[in-house]
Amino acid sequence: MARSKELLPRESLLWIFAAQFVALLPHFARLPLWIVCAWAFAIYWRLEVYRGRRDLPGRLVKLLAITLAVAGLALSYRRWFALEPMVALLAVSFTLKNLELVSRRDAFLSLLLAYFVAATLFVYEQTIPYAFYGVLCALVITAALAAQSGSFSARPRRALGLSAKLLAQAAPLMLLLFIVMPRLGPLWAVPQDASGARTGVSDSMAPGDFTRLSKSDSPVLRISFDGPVPPPEQRYWRGLVYSHFDGRRWSQGFSVDPRQGAEVEWNSRQQRLPEVGPRYRYQVIQEASNAPWLFAMARPLSDTRGVGETADDRLVKKTPVHSRFAYEVRTWPRETLTDAPVLGDAERRRNLQLPATGNARTRAWAAEQRAAGLGAEEISRRLLNFYNRSFVYTLNPPALGADSVDEFLFHSQQGFCEHFAGSYVFAMRAAGVPARVVAGYQGGEWVEQEAYLLVREYDAHAWAEIWVPGRGWQRVDPTAAVSPERIRDGLQSAAEEEFMQDALLPLHRISVFNQLRLQWDMINYRWYRAVISFDSDRQQNLLRRLLGEVSLARLALFVGAAIAAGLAGALLWLWFISRRTRPPLAIRLYQKFCQRMARAGMVRRPGEAPRDFARRVREEKPQLAEVTERITRAFEKAAYCEDPAAEQQLRRLLRRPLTRYRTRKV
């Protein structure tokens, strides 16, 4: 076979398979199992080919494999233009390429594809561990590329060492490109699978059903403040407003979701908020929630593109938050706003809505209050007193029956924020006070070193807002009436025993561990601020700070200066190395002499001893023989006898050009 000469050797194949494995490994969990099996099978076949037990598949087999793969993808995903099927398609083609891995060219193709596959990892995950894994991928794939050049360089240590060296050398270039490379928006939007949504806050709540309260401690928000930090009792991060109650479940109700036509001010610059400075300015970094709602304190305003404000004082994003998202917020606390609030008829109706029947006892209690002619705030106070007297805050309340509010208020009297907020709003509405449930996060952990507020899943909270004529919407937190420490110190300390009863180890009792967890989150936060959220705005800012003004000429100058600095550094390094191994003076002088002789046409051969050279000079250029002899003698004494006088003599001899000696001689 003519091709057999360029067949890939064993080391090449093993390296390619290793690179493929490393690139595909993080995808194994996401890809359908059959792709993993197909990959293993393709490798098995290729190894059999290497052993000579099997031939490379013919055209028919390849066609069959492609058909099967496409059919498998179609069956596994059922839709094409989403991210996961695309990654799967890439993985499958990567896998099938093994069946025609014949020549060196195929190997390079496969390895370049491996870089691409490794990069798709970051579509899903952008955290630090995955970044490290990405570096590992690049290391192994580059090593595999390096190993393609032959048996010697295919040794693992050598290949990996070379690869590490290459990557280290590429790192400055990477940094430079990271800073100056224009951030392009995505060329096309690939819808991401939203089925994996998980959040402590969902678009509805049903307090009676079961305890769905998230005990997860994964971070949700990181909030850094520019200026004053709100006191703990102000830290209510509103995300959703539930206005509709169907007797069991609280939900946003019709016409609230922005996509269903609710009133959202996307261009918030014409807001009717006062010019005088906002009380709080902050930046929120939100983890992926696969939902459009954002979190901010009441009366927020955001200049971040794609963020709008709803009529019920929330922020929403145009598209769901599929990956970490940072937004700037300015908040005017409601009590600082002086304009007279008005509640429209439709709004009033929406916030008084109750199911036609059910929870008769609560309604009766509310009617009683109403008949007594009490104001909204007085009713609220009575209700809160009622809570305070006999209710218990617990994370594991009993399930409630059909009239969930009645049962909670008059029988079980145990529950957590959802129960309190739901029953409170129900009672207030029944008493004729417009009210609504607000869901979001409350509190957060203050990270001192980095000065930001860390909000975790378990900080999810629900509270209420009631309409007080003349003052507008007022926040009421019924949970605070029962368990003030829940609000002050957070859920974890309020219900510590319950909270941690599922945990295998009582790690929460060890302060070092908590400290470490905070440290880790801090590192994550820095990573996000410095790397992930480096978008075109920040890039422009940074470049402006570096260059003064962003123009093509300055950018070119900047890149050029960086490259020049790199080259100068390399040069300096080389000079430093050569300086360290600088030969002694006599040798350097003799080298100078050799250079001059070379210019005169006598080149000393590397292995030629000075005396042999002198002899050759006598034969070939007699006119230079005498000076050569003298220099050689002086050099031998200086270099090998280490005679300082001879060194001086050699220096003196070399001070004059050699030709001068010649003229004197002739």
């Binding site: 191994t581 030969p583 002694p584 006599a586 040798i587 003799y590 080298q591 050799c594 000393r604 051969r605 590397p606 292995g607 030629e608 001893a609 000075p610 005396r611 042999d612 031998e636 270099a639 090998y640 006898c641 280490e642």
Partner: protein, 303 residues
């Protein structure tokens, strides 16, 4: 001192015509307390060289012709029961001398070879559990036939390494050969040779070898040479530290023979083929050509 050396070289040169370089190498080998391996075809004057050296330097001389049925005891000596005294008495073998000519060492079995080589290394002989020192100085000149001749056991590399130098004499030049034809019988001449120095003087000269100065620049060159043998893809086995040290010692002796108190690169180059030739191995090529390339490639002045 210089006169004595010149006289020694001249004396031997009278018998071994046109082989001044080899004679000097042998002398350098002796002065640096090493052993010499002469590899050549039969009849090239190997034995004559050894014998002449022994006579000129005034050393006691023994010659052992190695054969394939030789046993270690044949060289080292044997204890024999004497009926008169009723005791075992050790009869010293031929190894107990100052200059031993081990002729055709590669004809004997490895067992015998190794017995001799051990004696060379330790400068003592252990027989019947008793250790007997060999005379001082102890110098072995071994000769061997080229390996392609039949009936030979090649010396393994580890044992070749025991020899400081390996030289070959080669055919004489035309003039030398003509002079040989016209001259007196070398054997008769050999008998007329008188010792030029005594043992004490020889010891003094050996001590002087160690005092020859090796400058930094020269050691740099030596280091480059050794590194080159270890890194060059041509050499499958580089020079060992022992080999490098042997090179330095031999070069010192060479410098001393030429009346210098310091080493020059030429000294190293002069002894390099005979010191490194049998220690280097290359794939396919022979050591001599490798050494030649090595000398050409490694710069004397700087890296």
């Amino acid at each position: 001192m210089q006169k004595i050396i010149s006289a020694i070289v001249a004396d031997i040169g009278k018998i071994l015509l046109g082989k001044e370089h080899q004679v000097k190498l042998a002398l350098a080998c002796l002065l640096s307390r090493g052993h010499l391996l002469i590899e050549d075809l039969p009849g090239m004057g190997k034995t004559t060289l050894a014998h002449a050296l022994a006579r000129v330097l005034g050393l006691s001389y023994n010659r052992v012709q190695f054969t394939s049925d030789m046993l270690p005891a044949d060289i080292l000596g044997v204890s024999i029961f004497e009926r008169d005294s009723g005791q075992f008495r050790f009869h010293e073998g031929p190894v107990f001398c100052q200059l031993l000519l081990a002729d055709e060492i590669n004809r004997s079995s490895p067992k015998t070879q190794s017995a001799l080589l051990e004696a060379m290394e330790e400068r003592q002989v252990s027989v019947d559990g008793e250790t007997r020192p060999l005379p001082e100085p102890f110098f072995v000149i071994a000769t061997q036939n080229p390996l392609h001749q039949s009936g030979t056991f090649a010396l393994p590399e580890s044992q070749l390494d025991r020899f400081l130098m390996r030289i070959s004499l080669g055919y004489p030049t035309r003039e030398a050969e003509r002079a040989l034809f016209q001259g007196v019988d070398p054997r008769a001449q050999l008998r007329q040779l008188k010792p030029r120095i005594d043992i004490a003087a020889l010891r003094k000269m050996q001590a002087m070898v160690a005092q020859v100065k090796a400058s930094e620049s020269l050691l740099d060159y030596l280091e480059r040479l050794v590194q080159h043998t270890r890194q060059s893809p041509e050499c499958s086995v580089g020079l060992s530290p022992r080999g490098a040290l042997a090179l330095l010692h031999a070069a010192r002796a060479w410098a001393l023979i030429h009346g210098r108190g310091h080493l020059l690169p030429e000294d190293i180059q002069a002894v390099l083929p005979s010191v490194a030739g049998h220690r280097l191995q290359s794939e396919g090529g022979d050591g001599a050509r490798l050494v030649e390339r090595l000398m050409r490639q490694v710069d004397i002045i700087a890296a």
